[in-house]
Amino acid sequence: MVLPLKYNIRNVWVRWRATTSTILGIALVVSVFVLLRALARGIEASSGNTGDARNVLIVRKGSMAESGSLVTLDQFRTIRYFEEIAQTPAGQPLISAELVMLVSVPRRTGAGEANTLLRGVTAQGQELRSQVTLIEGRWFRRGQREVTVSRKLAQRFSGFEIGGSFKAGPDRLTVVGHFDGAGSAFDSEAWMDADEARSIFDRGEMYSSLLVRPRDAAALVSFTNRIAQDKRLALRAESERGYYEKQTVTAAPFKILAGLLGAAMSVGAVFAAMNTMYASVASRTREIGTLRVLGYSRGSVVICFLLEGALLAALGGAVGCAVAVGITMTLAARGTMFGSLDFQSFAETVYQFRITPDLIVLGMVFAVAIGLFGSLFPALRAARLPVISALKSL
């Protein structure tokens, strides 16, 4: 039989000075842990939210990403006439040959330059991506050295404002509009005409990838198999969504960092909880003796102190999660974006903190684990107290 929970709640309340510092310590650990995980989740969401389930992306066999892939103009010309491909009302096949390049652009903060991803798209490129919408200015024109960039990217780099320009290869490109990628990976890109990009970057008859929309689900399967089986092409086709979901590797360092920082900081939090619980046991020695005399077993005493530690930590966890949610909401309201290097494309990718209910649960579980671990030894000490000497304690 365990003691009533109100006994623990009131004891936590009565010792508010000691418990507040422990609660704040655990809150700090949990908020850092949740925020780092939220950052990783933001990156994952950006990649996971990208692409259209109806589209197929084609890259060179053996390439893991578009940036390391080459598709020739000949291959493009061959594939565009495959009967599985859907057509526009004007009778044009829904296929875009694309060139992915890196350009180094100065940051607005003045903290040097960073690579950004410049995507050259052909005529059907925009139509194939319903996630991307023009929100300011206009789209780039074919045959012009113009770009339309993501608004989120424009907030981070100088020269990305409408009318601004930046260096790309031997030339300068002029920004004519801003688009929104609806939280997808396209929010980290700048777009221009693919053939103009081939010319600037001297790519001859080479593209990086092809984006295709087959007619229907059956055509999608047939098209994918056809690409895979055609030995002359040496290309690989997969669903656009599947491709981007695999690109979440960028989130890995943040997950590792969250784990390492969480572990390091939790050691401190465990000691804080342990200290509080040891003090609590010391000041309640006679109470513990009395409870034992009344018939409460050693196990009940252990459970009582573990519960109290868990309660203390849960309060800290709740505060920590609330702080993390508060920070995330404030940053979202201000439109603050974060950027980091994408280890696939080596371009800067932008994203926002993303807190989901499961992250809150994870934060609370982490907090309670700290509390349980921190109170385990004090609880065992309480249970081992000899009853008579506990009763004689002042």
């Binding site: 009533p4 005399v293 409460y296």
Partner: protein, 240 residues
């Protein structure tokens, strides 16, 4: 003790009870082969100088300490044969404790303190509440049920402790210097209460005290000296 129906079975039977403590390299004999019987309903007072073994005897017969040798049978049960967990359950059902410093849980109200031993029983919530109310009314504190210990006087706190001790309706009540921290008026109230519980409710009360005035409330006094019972004096009736 005998009644018209013949001899009464003792509630407590102690035989050759010895307790030796180890203090560093020295063995200290707290009790040296004590044997005695206590009949149901007796109000036994244990007296003697400090270190005479009276508290040790109280702890042993209440099952909160283990003897070095000898036996303690309470209602026929040899408590030395019970393991730690069985002993805790046995104490809960058979022994009520009253301490010198009241030992109430400061964060709980009077009613919640009285309910503590009942939480270990199979009683329903409403049965527990009823029993708590009865116990508090019996000690005259029905109107203080929702007061915390720090909102009560010393005498009232000790009466709450007595209510807690009788909540599970144990046959044995043990009290260790229950009036040691009380003024004369409160001490008299507490002693009268213990006497009433013995006389009217048939509880067997065993009380340790240094105070001869407190001792006069009992029906029997045992004087201990150097771990042995030196005198065993029975009163003919309850006083005062």
């Amino acid at each position: 003790m005998e009644t018209s129906h013949g001899p009464v079975e003792p509630i407590v039977q102690i035989r050759d009870l010895t307790k030796i403590y180890r203090q560093g390299d020295i063995d200290v004999t707290a009790l040296a082969g004590v044997s005695l019987d206590i009949a149901p309903g007796e109000f036994v007072v244990l007296m003697g100088p400090s270190g005479s073994g009276k508290s040790t005897l109280l702890h042993l017969l209440a099952g909160i300490d283990r003897a070095t040798s000898g036996t303690v049978l309470v209602q026929g049960i040899n408590i030395a044969n019970l393991n730690e967990s069985e002993l805790a359950g046995w104490r809960n059902q058979n022994v009520g404790f009253v301490f010198q410093s009241f030992n109430l849980i400061p964060v709980l109200t009077a009613a919640e303190n009285v309910e503590l031993p009942l939480l270990l029983t199979a009683l329903s919530r409403s049965e527990r509440k009823a029993q708590v109310r009865t116990a508090l009314e019996l000690v005259g504190l029905g109107d203080r049920a929702h007061h915390r210990p720090d909102q009560l006087s010393g005498g009232q706190q000790q009466r709450v402790a007595i209510a807690r001790a009788i909540a599970t309706d144990p046959a044995l009540l043990v009290a260790d210097e229950p009036t040691g921290n009380l003024d004369a008026k409160s001490a008299a109230d507490v002693l009268n209460l213990l006497q009433r519980l013995s006389r009217e409710a048939g509880k067997t009360v065993i009380m340790v005290t240094h105070d001869p005035k407190a001792a006069s409330y009992g029906t029997r006094s045992l004087h201990l000296e150097k771990g042995e019972v030196e005198r065993d004096v029975r009163a003919t009736s309850f006083t005062p």
